[in-house]
């Protein structure tokens, strides 16, 4: 029976099948669906609570976001935050690589690094801000200090544990070819530990964002133009709640893009391609 009906509309059912396959297998589509669902829940709960000054709707937030982007230099503010963030992030990652590489070679450095990580990793970066302001004044340098602190320890921890869990056979293969010192770290340990390193970079990226936005909230203007945190703080003071939400949405959007596009892309050409991560 079903055969007969299929014979009647072969082309149509094929198209449907292909669509269904696409819907099932496309990660992008799944992600968009999840986001749409969350937006829908937001919209309805905001309408239900009916207090736009406290909890604006999704549509109002998007409208405010558009307005902020086109007329209030939200993009410039985001860019200001991003450049500071990237500076701190890159500095911390480079420093972490240097220390962790030394920790591989020297047992003393490893002990030192492990102690430093257990001392400083639980310390919220924002708690260092008053001290940083005292030492370096109101400016980018203070922001960079807290950023480096926020990124360095979690990333060093992830990288160190990644290096330590490199399979014994691969270590022996590297040594078999006469590799040692920097060559050994670069050609064996880093690629072999790349899944952990990328994981550490993602965690560190999130920590950096949190810290930077929090620091900008405390600290106001970091230079002539304020960053995203300052945008949020200013609009809260004037009770433009929809713009506060727009600022928060901007943080989330940048986070989603970096996680879903940048890191995803890096993973696709490395660890996923090599079968080291699914």
């Amino acid at each position: 029976m079903s055969d007969l009906s299929l014979v009647g509309t072969p082309a149509k059912s094929q198209v449907l099948d292909r669509l269904r396959d696409f819907a099932r297998n496309s990660a992008l589509l799944r992600k968009v669906l999840v986001l749409a669902l969350l937006a829908l829940i937001w919209e309805f709960s905001a309408r239900f609570s009916a207090k736009p000054i406290l909890f604006p709707t999704f549509t109002a937030t998007m409208a405010a976001l558009w307005e902020a982007l086109t007329t209030e230099n939200l993009l410039t503010a985001s860019w200001t935050s991003l450049t500071v963030l990237l500076k701190g992030y890159v500095m911390a990652i480079a420093a972490a690589f240097a220390i962790v590489s030394l920790a591989v070679v020297s047992r003393f450095v490893r002990e030192l690094l492990q102690t430093l990580i257990s001392m400083f990793n639980p310390l919220p970066a924002i708690a260092l801000l008053p001290l940083a302001m005292l030492w370096f004044g109101l400016g980018e340098r203070s922001l960079l200090v807290v950023l480096v602190h926020a990124v360095l320890w979690p990333f060093a921890l992830a990288t160190l544990s990644g290096f330590e869990s490199v399979p014994e056979t691969q270590r022996l293969v590297g040594r078999n070819y006469g590799l040692n010192g920097p060559g050994y770290v670069w050609r064996i340990l880093i690629p072999a530990a790349l899944p952990s390193i990328l994981y550490g970079m993602k965690i560190a990226w999130a920590f950096a964002w949190r810290t930077l936005i929090a620091a900008e909230l405390v600290f106001g203007v970091s230079s002539s133009t304020g960053g995203l945190g300052w945008f949020i703080f200013r609009n809260r003071n004037e009770l433009f709640t929809d713009k506060v939400f727009a600022g928060l949405a901007m943080v989330i959007i940048i986070g989603l893009v970096v996680e879903g596009v940048v890191f995803r892309l890096i993973e696709n050409v490395t660890v996923r391609r090599w079968g080291m991560q699914r």
Partner: protein
């Protein structure tokens, strides 16, 4: 003039080797006073039950372990550390670096070992991979290969360097029986064709007799020499023959006799 060595020049020579392991209860002797040597094109197999230190001996020859006493020489030079003149084939499938393709894995030791031109590295890599039957997966990543193909690639990686001696640590132990016997045959064909010198570790008596031209039997805890045997007269065609069966039984008795268990050294 210097006096000539009465024996043909040894490719590798292990002399009164003793290996110790640190453990919480103090040092543990893994290998006690083991000596053997192999000349050009010989295939020496270390055979013994687990705990006889055969893998430790191989690791010491590779340069990963420092002897407590005794010396290891390869082509007359004392082994001081690991080096690409002694490429190791391990048992584990993850010995191929997952971030390199099969071709890049095989090229890697060549880049490390010698200042060859790029085209020559490429040609040698392709020729060697063809020899082990992997010409169709040159640019595949290791995770897409079967266990047998991974071990073939690891063997190619060892062959490509023209190393003085190839070291193989139970390379076929993790394979299924069919693939294992196929790879044993292929390794013998390659040995015939290329005439490399091999130090091979196994706990399988039949594999030892097939692969080796010389067997070196070891007793466990600590590893001591039981005896050495010449098995160069055995070929693949002898599989299942009474001659090989009786030698297997003899080796089995030597390994598991009460005397061997007590580990009384007996040099032959």
């Amino acid at each position: 003039m210097l006096a000539r060595d009465p024996f043909p020049v040894a490719v590798f020579e292990v002399d009164r080797l003793t290996l110790d392991y640190p453990s919480p209860a103090g040092t543990v002797r893994a290998v006690d006073d083991v000596s053997f040597r192999a000349g050009e094109g010989e295939r020496l197999v270390l055979l013994g039950p687990s705990g006889c230190g055969k893998s430790s001996i191989l690791k010491a020859v590779a340069g990963f372990l420092k002897p407590a006493s005794g010396t290891i020489r390869v082509r007359g030079r004392e082994v001081k550390g690991p080096g690409p003149d002694r490429i190791v084939v391990f048992q584990e499938f993850d010995q191929l670096l997952p971030w390199k393709t099969v071709r890049q894995n095989v090229e890697f030791p060549l880049h490390m070992a010698s200042p060859l031109a790029k085209t020559e590295i490429r040609d040698r890599t392709e020729a060697t991979l063809k020899k082990v039957g992997l010409e169709r997966v040159l640019d595949s990543y290791p995770h897409t290969l079967s266990g047998g193909m991974k071990q073939r690639a690891a063997i190619a990686r060892a062959l490509v360097t023209d190393a003085d001696v190839l070291l193989m640590d139970e390379p076929f132990a993790a394979l299924d029986a069919l693939t294992r016997s196929q790879l044993q045959g292929e390794l013998l064909d390659l040995a015939e064709e290329l005439g490399f010198t091999l130090l091979f570790v196994t706990h399988s008596i039949e594999e030892a007799i097939l692969i080796g031209t010389k067997l070196h039997l070891l007793s466990p805890h600590p590893g001591r020499t039981i005896t050495s045997l010449d098995t160069s007269g055995f070929a693949r065609s002898d599989v299942g023959s009474p001659r090989l069966e009786s030698l297997s039984r003899e080796v089995h008795d030597l390994l598991f006799s009460p005397k061997a268990r007590k580990g009384i050294p007996e040099h032959v």
